[in-house]
Protein backbone atom coordinates (compact mmCIF):
# COMPACT_ATOMS: atom_id res chain seq x y z
CA UNK A 1 0.00 0.00 0.00
CA UNK A 2 1.42 3.35 -1.07
CA UNK A 3 1.67 5.97 1.58
CA UNK A 4 -0.28 9.10 0.77
CA UNK A 5 1.04 12.66 0.72
CA UNK A 6 0.88 14.50 3.99
CA UNK A 7 0.99 18.29 4.19
CA UNK A 8 1.79 20.26 7.30
CA UNK A 9 1.13 23.90 6.40
CA UNK A 10 2.41 26.71 8.63
CA UNK A 11 -0.18 29.30 7.72
CA UNK A 12 -3.82 29.37 6.73
CA UNK A 13 -2.95 30.79 3.31
CA UNK A 14 -0.56 27.94 2.73
CA UNK A 15 -3.26 25.50 3.77
CA UNK A 16 -5.79 27.01 1.38
CA UNK A 17 -3.23 26.98 -1.39
CA UNK A 18 -2.60 23.27 -0.84
CA UNK A 19 -6.32 22.59 -0.81
CA UNK A 20 -6.78 24.36 -4.10
CA UNK A 21 -4.42 21.88 -5.73
CA UNK A 22 -4.98 18.68 -3.86
CA UNK A 23 -8.30 17.48 -2.46
CA UNK A 24 -7.03 16.46 0.95
CA UNK A 25 -8.52 14.87 4.01
CA UNK A 26 -8.24 17.66 6.56
CA UNK A 27 -6.96 16.38 9.87
CA UNK A 28 -7.35 18.77 12.80
CA UNK A 29 -7.29 17.03 16.18
CA UNK A 30 -7.18 13.54 14.77
CA UNK A 31 -9.49 12.10 17.39
CA UNK A 32 -11.94 10.75 14.85
CA UNK A 33 -9.77 10.28 11.76
CA UNK A 34 -6.87 8.55 13.47
CA UNK A 35 -9.32 6.01 14.91
CA UNK A 36 -11.32 5.43 11.75
CA UNK A 37 -8.14 4.93 9.72
CA UNK A 38 -6.15 2.92 12.25
CA UNK A 39 -4.91 -0.56 11.46
CA UNK A 40 -3.15 -2.23 14.34
CA UNK A 41 -0.36 -1.67 16.86
CA UNK A 42 2.84 -0.61 15.15
CA UNK A 43 1.26 -0.30 11.72
CA UNK A 44 0.62 3.13 10.24
CA UNK A 45 -2.97 4.27 9.71
CA UNK A 46 -4.17 4.00 6.14
CA UNK A 47 -5.67 7.01 4.38
CA UNK A 48 -7.13 6.82 0.90
CA UNK A 49 -6.11 10.31 -0.18
CA UNK A 50 -3.71 13.08 0.78
CA UNK A 51 -3.90 14.40 4.30
CA UNK A 52 -3.34 17.91 5.54
CA UNK A 53 -2.65 18.42 9.24
CA UNK A 54 -4.00 21.77 10.44
CA UNK A 55 -3.77 21.15 14.17
CA UNK A 56 -1.18 23.83 14.79
CA UNK A 57 -2.34 26.65 12.52
CA UNK A 58 -2.41 29.68 14.83
CA UNK A 59 -4.93 31.66 12.75
CA UNK A 60 -7.70 29.15 13.31
CA UNK A 61 -7.19 28.50 16.98
CA UNK A 62 -8.46 31.78 18.44
CA UNK A 63 -11.62 32.45 20.40
CA UNK A 64 -12.95 36.01 20.56
CA UNK A 65 -16.15 38.02 20.47
CA UNK A 66 -17.04 40.50 17.80
CA UNK A 67 -20.31 42.24 17.12
CA UNK A 68 -21.94 40.40 19.99
CA UNK A 69 -21.09 37.05 18.45
CA UNK A 70 -18.65 34.46 19.68
CA UNK A 71 -16.06 33.41 17.11
CA UNK A 72 -14.35 30.10 17.63
CA UNK A 73 -11.40 29.14 15.47
CA UNK A 74 -11.89 25.85 13.67
CA UNK A 75 -8.93 24.16 15.35
CA UNK A 76 -9.94 25.26 18.87
CA UNK A 77 -9.96 22.19 21.05
CA UNK A 78 -12.81 21.11 23.26
CA UNK A 79 -10.91 22.03 26.39
CA UNK A 80 -10.07 25.48 25.04
CA UNK A 81 -13.78 25.93 24.37
CA UNK A 82 -14.86 24.51 27.72
CA UNK A 83 -12.47 26.75 29.63
CA UNK A 84 -13.17 30.00 27.81
CA UNK A 85 -15.82 32.18 29.48
CA UNK A 86 -16.46 33.97 26.18
CA UNK A 87 -18.04 30.80 24.83
CA UNK A 88 -21.81 30.39 25.30
CA UNK A 89 -22.78 28.11 28.17
CA UNK A 90 -24.44 25.31 26.24
CA UNK A 91 -21.38 24.87 24.09
CA UNK A 92 -19.02 24.97 27.06
CA UNK A 93 -21.13 22.28 28.68
CA UNK A 94 -20.98 20.06 25.65
CA UNK A 95 -17.25 20.63 25.17
CA UNK A 96 -16.53 19.95 28.82
CA UNK A 97 -18.22 16.55 28.70
CA UNK A 98 -16.86 15.38 25.35
CA UNK A 99 -14.90 12.10 25.64
CA UNK A 100 -11.83 11.78 27.80
CA UNK A 101 -9.82 14.61 29.34
CA UNK A 102 -6.89 14.01 26.99
CA UNK A 103 -9.16 13.69 23.99
CA UNK A 104 -10.62 17.11 24.74
CA UNK A 105 -7.10 18.50 24.33
CA UNK A 106 -7.03 17.12 20.79
CA UNK A 107 -10.56 17.13 19.45
CA UNK A 108 -11.51 20.31 17.62
CA UNK A 109 -14.83 21.98 17.01
CA UNK A 110 -14.46 21.84 13.23
CA UNK A 111 -13.63 18.16 13.43
CA UNK A 112 -16.64 17.50 15.60
CA UNK A 113 -18.89 19.25 13.09
CA UNK A 114 -17.26 17.76 10.00
CA UNK A 115 -17.43 14.26 11.43
CA UNK A 116 -21.21 14.65 11.15
CA UNK A 117 -21.87 11.94 13.68
CA UNK A 118 -25.41 11.98 15.05
CA UNK A 119 -23.84 11.43 18.47
CA UNK A 120 -21.44 14.37 18.18
CA UNK A 121 -21.38 16.59 21.24
CA UNK A 122 -21.17 20.13 19.87
CA UNK A 123 -23.87 20.15 17.17
CA UNK A 124 -26.70 20.12 19.75
CA UNK A 125 -25.78 23.51 21.23
CA UNK A 126 -24.68 24.84 17.85
CA UNK A 127 -28.09 24.09 16.32
CA UNK A 128 -29.79 25.52 19.38
CA UNK A 129 -27.89 28.82 19.19
CA UNK A 130 -28.17 29.27 15.39
CA UNK A 131 -24.43 28.88 14.94
CA UNK A 132 -22.80 29.25 11.54
CA UNK A 133 -19.63 27.86 10.04
CA UNK A 134 -17.25 30.11 8.14
CA UNK A 135 -15.80 28.32 5.18
CA UNK A 136 -12.88 29.40 3.06
CA UNK A 137 -11.18 28.30 -0.06
CA UNK A 138 -8.22 29.95 -1.74
CA UNK A 139 -10.60 32.18 -3.66
CA UNK A 140 -13.77 32.51 -1.66
CA UNK A 141 -15.26 32.58 1.73
CA UNK A 142 -18.81 31.83 2.72
CA UNK A 143 -20.98 31.17 5.76
CA UNK A 144 -23.60 28.57 6.36
CA UNK A 145 -25.74 27.59 9.34
CA UNK A 146 -24.31 24.51 11.04
CA UNK A 147 -27.70 22.86 10.70
CA UNK A 148 -27.47 23.12 6.90
CA UNK A 149 -23.77 22.41 6.70
CA UNK A 150 -24.34 19.00 8.29
CA UNK A 151 -26.39 17.41 5.54
CA UNK A 152 -27.02 14.07 7.10
CA UNK A 153 -25.22 11.13 8.71
CA UNK A 154 -21.54 11.47 7.81
CA UNK A 155 -22.22 14.02 5.07
CA UNK A 156 -21.31 17.72 5.08
CA UNK A 157 -21.60 20.54 2.60
CA UNK A 158 -17.89 21.07 2.00
CA UNK A 159 -16.61 21.32 -1.53
CA UNK A 160 -13.13 20.40 -2.73
CA UNK A 161 -10.75 23.19 -1.89
CA UNK A 162 -12.77 24.38 1.08
CA UNK A 163 -12.14 24.20 4.77
CA UNK A 164 -13.91 25.39 7.89
CA UNK A 165 -12.03 28.26 9.45
CA UNK A 166 -14.36 29.44 12.16
CA UNK A 167 -17.59 28.75 13.97
CA UNK A 168 -19.72 31.77 14.85
CA UNK A 169 -22.24 31.54 17.66
CA UNK A 170 -24.63 34.50 17.67
CA UNK A 171 -26.62 33.68 20.78
CA UNK A 172 -25.59 32.84 24.31
CA UNK A 173 -27.23 32.13 27.64
CA UNK A 174 -27.44 35.91 28.11
CA UNK A 175 -30.24 35.85 25.59
CA UNK A 176 -32.32 33.52 27.73
CA UNK A 177 -33.85 33.38 31.19
CA UNK A 178 -33.50 29.64 31.63
CA UNK A 179 -31.15 27.11 30.07
CA UNK A 180 -30.88 23.35 30.06
CA UNK A 181 -28.23 20.95 28.79
CA UNK A 182 -28.19 17.32 29.72
CA UNK A 183 -26.15 14.53 28.21
CA UNK A 184 -27.09 10.98 29.00
CA UNK A 185 -23.78 9.31 28.40
CA UNK A 186 -22.67 5.72 28.38
CA UNK A 187 -21.26 6.50 31.84
CA UNK A 188 -20.53 9.50 34.06
CA UNK A 189 -17.38 10.62 32.26
CA UNK A 190 -15.40 9.70 29.19
CA UNK A 191 -18.71 8.93 27.56
CA UNK A 192 -20.44 8.81 24.23
CA UNK A 193 -23.89 10.36 24.11
CA UNK A 194 -26.92 8.06 24.33
CA UNK A 195 -29.09 11.13 24.04
CA UNK A 196 -28.43 14.81 24.73
CA UNK A 197 -31.02 17.54 25.07
CA UNK A 198 -30.26 21.27 24.90
CA UNK A 199 -32.92 23.86 25.69
CA UNK A 200 -33.27 27.58 26.31
CA UNK A 201 -36.21 29.81 27.11
CA UNK A 202 -36.91 33.51 27.40
CA UNK A 203 -40.05 35.15 28.72
CA UNK A 204 -41.31 38.56 27.59
CA UNK A 205 -39.82 41.16 29.93
CA UNK A 206 -41.64 40.98 33.22
CA UNK A 207 -44.31 38.79 31.71
CA UNK A 208 -45.39 35.20 31.56
CA UNK A 209 -45.52 34.92 27.80
CA UNK A 210 -42.75 32.95 26.14
CA UNK A 211 -40.70 35.14 23.85
CA UNK A 212 -38.30 32.44 22.72
CA UNK A 213 -37.95 28.75 23.27
CA UNK A 214 -35.50 26.36 21.70
CA UNK A 215 -34.89 22.66 21.96
CA UNK A 216 -32.43 20.41 20.17
CA UNK A 217 -31.51 16.79 20.69
CA UNK A 218 -28.64 14.63 19.51
CA UNK A 219 -28.36 10.88 19.04
CA UNK A 220 -32.06 10.92 18.21
CA UNK A 221 -31.82 10.61 14.45
CA UNK A 222 -29.42 10.73 11.56
CA UNK A 223 -28.44 14.24 12.59
CA UNK A 224 -29.19 16.67 15.40
CA UNK A 225 -32.90 17.43 15.66
CA UNK A 226 -34.40 20.86 16.03
CA UNK A 227 -37.55 22.40 14.58
CA UNK A 228 -38.72 25.99 14.78
CA UNK A 229 -42.27 24.76 14.14
CA UNK A 230 -42.19 22.75 17.33
CA UNK A 231 -40.80 25.67 19.28
CA UNK A 232 -43.42 28.01 17.82
CA UNK A 233 -46.13 25.99 19.53
CA UNK A 234 -45.28 27.68 22.80
CA UNK A 235 -43.71 30.94 21.64
CA UNK A 236 -46.05 33.86 22.18
CA UNK A 237 -48.09 31.92 24.72
CA UNK A 238 -48.08 31.25 28.42
CA UNK A 239 -46.77 27.92 29.56
CA UNK A 240 -49.52 25.49 30.45
CA UNK A 241 -49.54 21.78 31.02
CA UNK A 242 -51.43 21.21 27.82
CA UNK A 243 -48.95 23.22 25.79
CA UNK A 244 -46.04 21.42 27.42
CA UNK A 245 -47.54 18.11 26.33
CA UNK A 246 -48.15 19.48 22.89
CA UNK A 247 -44.50 20.57 22.55
CA UNK A 248 -43.25 17.26 23.91
CA UNK A 249 -45.40 15.31 21.47
CA UNK A 250 -44.52 17.55 18.54
CA UNK A 251 -40.82 17.18 19.29
CA UNK A 252 -41.32 13.45 19.46
CA UNK A 253 -42.67 13.70 15.97
CA UNK A 254 -39.50 15.15 14.51
CA UNK A 255 -37.01 12.68 15.99
CA UNK A 256 -36.30 9.28 14.55
CA UNK A 257 -34.01 7.29 16.83
CA UNK A 258 -33.14 3.89 15.44
CA UNK A 259 -31.61 2.09 18.41
CA UNK A 260 -33.25 2.34 21.86
CA UNK A 261 -36.14 4.36 20.41
CA UNK A 262 -38.39 4.31 23.43
CA UNK A 263 -35.62 5.31 25.79
CA UNK A 264 -34.53 8.19 23.61
CA UNK A 265 -38.06 9.39 22.95
CA UNK A 266 -39.10 9.15 26.56
CA UNK A 267 -35.98 10.94 27.74
CA UNK A 268 -36.61 13.84 25.35
CA UNK A 269 -40.24 14.02 26.42
CA UNK A 270 -39.39 14.01 30.11
CA UNK A 271 -36.62 16.59 29.71
CA UNK A 272 -38.94 18.94 27.82
CA UNK A 273 -41.66 18.56 30.43
CA UNK A 274 -39.21 19.09 33.22
CA UNK A 275 -37.61 22.17 31.68
CA UNK A 276 -40.78 23.96 30.68
CA UNK A 277 -42.64 23.28 33.90
CA UNK A 278 -39.64 24.18 36.05
CA UNK A 279 -39.02 27.37 34.04
CA UNK A 280 -42.64 28.37 34.59
CA UNK A 281 -42.46 27.48 38.28
CA UNK A 282 -39.29 29.52 38.72
CA UNK A 283 -40.71 32.47 36.79
CA UNK A 284 -43.84 32.50 38.92
CA UNK A 285 -41.75 32.25 42.09
CA UNK A 286 -39.33 34.96 40.98
CA UNK A 287 -36.58 32.38 41.07
CA UNK A 288 -33.96 33.63 38.66
CA UNK A 289 -31.51 30.73 38.89
CA UNK A 290 -30.83 30.16 35.25
CA UNK A 291 -29.68 26.58 34.98
CA UNK A 292 -32.31 23.91 35.06
CA UNK A 293 -31.44 20.25 35.05
CA UNK A 294 -33.32 16.97 35.17
CA UNK A 295 -34.16 17.13 38.86
CA UNK A 296 -33.56 19.29 41.87
CA UNK A 297 -30.29 18.44 43.46
CA UNK A 298 -28.81 17.05 40.26
CA UNK A 299 -25.08 17.50 40.38
CA UNK A 300 -22.79 17.37 37.43
CA UNK A 301 -19.19 17.53 38.62
CA UNK A 302 -17.01 20.05 36.86
CA UNK A 303 -19.85 21.59 34.89
CA UNK A 304 -19.21 25.14 33.73
CA UNK A 305 -21.30 27.78 35.49
CA UNK A 306 -23.28 30.38 33.63
CA UNK A 307 -21.35 33.61 33.27
Amino acid sequence: MEEVTCYIPRTLDEALEILSKDDCTILAGGSDLMVSHKRTIGVDPRFSKSVMIIRNLPEIRKIYTEGGECHIGAASTSSEIAENPLVPWHLRQAASRMGAVALRNSATIAGNIANASPKGDTPGPLYLLDARVKIRSAKESREEPVSDFIVKFREIDLKPGEMITEVVVPLSEDDFDYVFWHKVGTRKANAISKVTVSMALKFEDGGSVVRDFRVSATATGSKTNRSRDVENIIIGKEISEDLIEEVAEAFDGIISPRAMPEFRRETCRRCIRRFLSEAERRRAAGDRRKMIDTYDGYHMPGAPEVR
Binding site: T40, G42, D44, G302
Partner: protein, 160 residues
Protein backbone atom coordinates in the same frame (compact mmCIF):
# COMPACT_ATOMS: atom_id res chain seq x y z
CA UNK B 1 6.00 9.50 1.98
CA UNK B 2 8.50 10.29 4.66
CA UNK B 3 9.18 13.64 6.25
CA UNK B 4 11.63 14.80 8.82
CA UNK B 5 9.79 15.89 11.92
CA UNK B 6 11.52 17.67 14.76
CA UNK B 7 10.25 18.19 18.26
CA UNK B 8 11.37 18.46 21.83
CA UNK B 9 11.16 15.19 23.72
CA UNK B 10 11.61 15.35 27.47
CA UNK B 11 13.62 18.53 27.10
CA UNK B 12 15.84 17.23 24.31
CA UNK B 13 15.66 18.28 20.64
CA UNK B 14 15.02 15.26 18.47
CA UNK B 15 14.06 14.60 14.91
CA UNK B 16 12.89 11.61 12.98
CA UNK B 17 12.31 10.80 9.35
CA UNK B 18 9.19 8.74 9.00
CA UNK B 19 5.65 8.75 7.63
CA UNK B 20 4.12 11.87 9.25
CA UNK B 21 0.83 9.97 9.54
CA UNK B 22 2.40 7.35 11.79
CA UNK B 23 0.79 7.38 15.18
CA UNK B 24 2.89 9.42 17.59
CA UNK B 25 2.39 6.52 20.00
CA UNK B 26 4.23 4.08 17.74
CA UNK B 27 6.99 6.62 17.13
CA UNK B 28 7.54 7.25 20.84
CA UNK B 29 7.59 3.54 21.63
CA UNK B 30 9.37 2.07 18.65
CA UNK B 31 11.74 4.82 17.58
CA UNK B 32 12.46 6.50 20.89
CA UNK B 33 12.07 3.51 23.24
CA UNK B 34 9.59 5.32 25.46
CA UNK B 35 7.98 2.12 26.66
CA UNK B 36 6.35 3.83 29.60
CA UNK B 37 3.87 5.13 27.04
CA UNK B 38 1.44 2.21 27.05
CA UNK B 39 -1.05 1.22 24.41
CA UNK B 40 -4.32 0.16 26.00
CA UNK B 41 -7.08 0.86 23.50
CA UNK B 42 -5.79 2.57 20.32
CA UNK B 43 -8.69 5.02 20.29
CA UNK B 44 -8.13 7.70 22.91
CA UNK B 45 -10.41 6.08 25.39
CA UNK B 46 -8.21 4.54 28.10
CA UNK B 47 -5.51 7.15 28.70
CA UNK B 48 -2.72 4.58 29.15
CA UNK B 49 -0.59 6.34 26.53
CA UNK B 50 -1.11 9.83 27.98
CA UNK B 51 1.70 12.30 27.40
CA UNK B 52 2.00 16.07 27.61
CA UNK B 53 2.00 18.01 24.36
CA UNK B 54 2.92 21.62 25.02
CA UNK B 55 1.94 21.04 28.63
CA UNK B 56 -1.49 19.63 27.80
CA UNK B 57 -2.33 15.98 28.35
CA UNK B 58 -3.07 14.15 25.11
CA UNK B 59 -3.20 10.57 23.92
CA UNK B 60 -0.63 9.98 21.17
CA UNK B 61 -2.64 7.08 19.73
CA UNK B 62 -4.81 9.85 18.20
CA UNK B 63 -2.01 12.10 17.05
CA UNK B 64 -0.12 11.78 13.79
CA UNK B 65 3.60 12.31 14.05
CA UNK B 66 3.31 15.32 11.76
CA UNK B 67 1.24 17.19 14.34
CA UNK B 68 4.19 17.03 16.73
CA UNK B 69 6.40 19.06 14.40
CA UNK B 70 7.94 21.87 16.37
CA UNK B 71 6.06 20.98 19.52
CA UNK B 72 7.17 20.00 23.02
CA UNK B 73 6.49 16.52 24.34
CA UNK B 74 6.93 15.11 27.80
CA UNK B 75 6.44 11.40 28.44
CA UNK B 76 6.22 9.63 31.77
CA UNK B 77 9.95 8.98 31.50
CA UNK B 78 10.65 12.70 31.41
CA UNK B 79 8.01 13.61 33.94
CA UNK B 80 9.10 11.10 36.55
CA UNK B 81 12.63 12.47 36.32
CA UNK B 82 11.41 15.88 37.53
CA UNK B 83 10.99 16.58 41.26
CA UNK B 84 7.23 17.02 40.76
CA UNK B 85 6.95 13.83 38.76
CA UNK B 86 8.97 11.91 41.30
CA UNK B 87 6.71 13.26 44.02
CA UNK B 88 3.75 11.69 42.21
CA UNK B 89 5.59 8.40 41.69
CA UNK B 90 6.56 8.17 45.34
CA UNK B 91 3.05 9.05 46.48
CA UNK B 92 1.60 6.38 44.21
CA UNK B 93 3.98 3.85 45.75
CA UNK B 94 3.16 4.84 49.30
CA UNK B 95 -0.55 5.28 48.77
CA UNK B 96 -1.28 1.89 47.27
CA UNK B 97 -2.24 3.32 43.89
CA UNK B 98 -0.54 0.61 41.91
CA UNK B 99 -1.81 -2.85 41.12
CA UNK B 100 -1.19 -4.34 37.67
CA UNK B 101 0.39 -1.04 36.75
CA UNK B 102 -0.48 -0.88 33.08
CA UNK B 103 -2.63 2.25 33.42
CA UNK B 104 -0.29 3.81 35.96
CA UNK B 105 2.21 5.70 33.79
CA UNK B 106 -0.80 7.42 32.18
CA UNK B 107 -2.24 8.08 35.63
CA UNK B 108 1.06 9.64 36.71
CA UNK B 109 0.91 11.95 33.70
CA UNK B 110 -2.71 12.83 34.53
CA UNK B 111 -1.87 13.50 38.17
CA UNK B 112 1.11 15.63 37.23
CA UNK B 113 -0.92 17.55 34.69
CA UNK B 114 -3.68 18.13 37.23
CA UNK B 115 -1.43 19.22 40.08
CA UNK B 116 0.52 21.56 37.83
CA UNK B 117 -2.72 23.41 37.13
CA UNK B 118 -4.38 22.90 40.48
CA UNK B 119 -2.00 22.27 43.37
CA UNK B 120 -4.79 21.97 45.90
CA UNK B 121 -7.47 19.82 44.26
CA UNK B 122 -10.62 18.53 45.87
CA UNK B 123 -11.53 14.85 45.61
CA UNK B 124 -13.89 15.78 42.81
CA UNK B 125 -11.21 17.71 40.93
CA UNK B 126 -8.96 14.68 41.14
CA UNK B 127 -11.66 12.28 39.99
CA UNK B 128 -12.38 14.57 37.05
CA UNK B 129 -8.69 14.91 36.28
CA UNK B 130 -8.20 11.15 35.98
CA UNK B 131 -11.61 10.39 34.48
CA UNK B 132 -10.05 9.75 31.10
CA UNK B 133 -7.64 7.19 32.47
CA UNK B 134 -9.26 3.80 32.83
CA UNK B 135 -8.09 1.45 35.52
CA UNK B 136 -9.57 -2.01 35.91
CA UNK B 137 -7.80 -3.01 39.13
CA UNK B 138 -8.05 -0.37 41.79
CA UNK B 139 -11.54 1.09 41.71
CA UNK B 140 -9.62 4.42 41.70
CA UNK B 141 -9.99 5.17 45.44
CA UNK B 142 -6.35 4.64 46.34
CA UNK B 143 -5.22 6.48 43.23
CA UNK B 144 -7.28 9.47 44.36
CA UNK B 145 -5.80 9.20 47.85
CA UNK B 146 -2.29 8.99 46.42
CA UNK B 147 -2.80 12.12 44.36
CA UNK B 148 -3.97 13.89 47.49
CA UNK B 149 -0.83 12.67 49.17
CA UNK B 150 1.27 14.03 46.30
CA UNK B 151 -0.50 17.37 46.61
CA UNK B 152 0.18 17.51 50.36
CA UNK B 153 3.77 16.36 50.20
CA UNK B 154 4.69 18.46 47.21
CA UNK B 155 2.93 21.60 48.35
CA UNK B 156 5.89 23.87 47.62
CA UNK B 157 6.84 22.06 44.44
CA UNK B 158 3.42 22.44 42.85
CA UNK B 159 3.01 26.08 43.78
CA UNK B 160 6.32 27.01 42.19
Amino acid sequence: MEKTISFKLNGRDVSITRNPLSRLLDVLRDDFGMHGVKEGCSEGECGACSILLNGRMVTPCLIPLGAADGQEIMTVEGISATPEGDCVVQAFADGGAVQCGFCIPGMVVAAYSLLKKNPDPTDEDIRLGISGNLCRCTGYDLIVESIKLAARRGRDLWKK
